[in-house]
Symmetry: C2
Subunit: 180 residues, 2 copies
């Protein structure tokens, strides 16, 4: 008898104002929707408070859903340096909480997400959302940031077939998008 | 009989490569050195790993020294956008860990640190270091990033006389450098 293990992945799309997240279960080559949503930071609050909102919510999500692995979108410099700084801080906060909660963290670029989910790097945002709905058999289209979170989780699943088999192999290394 | 309460402050100067920290005890208007040092991140490691190094070390420092409050230097955009992004992520990680550990976090600009420690906003880095040595009666000059961490902790102490008296007054709000 073969017992198929299920792997739970938390995908995170960090943003300076909204951080999207999506959780899926991967069982063999099948993907199942678990949860998704977005964390909105109060725009006029002091920075430490905004970071606190992101950090606390991600910890709550991890403690509630107990994912095995996390996939986080890589961010790039913005034309606005102040926005780049804030985006960096939001992303750093998310990564720190994931690491503190003991999750292996994988990183993917937007290009990798589009290639994995739609099949081409130049896909429009709507195409990514459409594929997320199809692949997870959702009854409606999730909010844009939540869909991005789910897309990153799906990217991790699609690029690493046989995730479950690797779960028992001790400590996995943090590395851009691939197991070591 | 008056019992003088002591307040322990952790000062942090986030950097993309080196994060400096300094811990002082404040008792009335007296300041005592507790510890200082710097956290160096492996420059060629994947970003998530560098963030993990910062986050784990700050958690260790908090758990070992049990500070009551944290003061973190505000960072500004760099001419190099990629460096700005990395600096933001390092700072976001530090803030997230402090918040997760339940510490009230205060933020100060480099200008505020120079004004508080040296008395003028245009002070040179060496003057700040000199004053840190004087104010904490150190026998030698600490490493530059460690001195910056101590300077931020001192800034918080100097700008908030009577810290100890305020400790018992319930939850303090996070706000730029001032109790609410």
């Amino acid at each position: 008898m073969t017992v198929q293990k299920s792997v739970r992945i938390l995908g995170i799309d960090p943003g300076s104002r909204v951080t999207g997240f999506g959780i899926i279960d991967v069982c063999g080559r099948e993907h199942f929707y678990v949860a998704s949503g977005c964390i909105k930071t109060p725009p006029n609050a002091p920075l430490a408070e905004r970071i606190a909102v992101i950090a606390r919510h991600i910890r709550e999500i991890v403690q509630q859903y107990r994912p095995h692995q996390a996939a986080v979108e890589q961010v790039f410099v913005n034309v606005n340096p102040a926005a780049t700084l804030m985006l960096g801080q939001a992303r750093g906060a998310a990564l720190a909480v994931l690491v503190m909660e003991g999750l292996p963290v994988f990183e993917y670029t937007a290009l990798q997400v589009k290639q994995a989910v739609v099949g081409k790097g130049k896909a429009a945002k709507e195409q990514v959302q459409h594929m997320v709905v199809q692949m997870l058999s959702l009854s409606g289209t999730p909010q844009s940031d939540a869909a991005d979170g789910l897309a990153i989780a799906l990217t991790h699943a699609l690029r690493n077939h046989g995730l479950a088999a690797q779960l028992g192999k001790g400590q996995m290394q943090v590395k851009r998008g691939r197991f070591q």
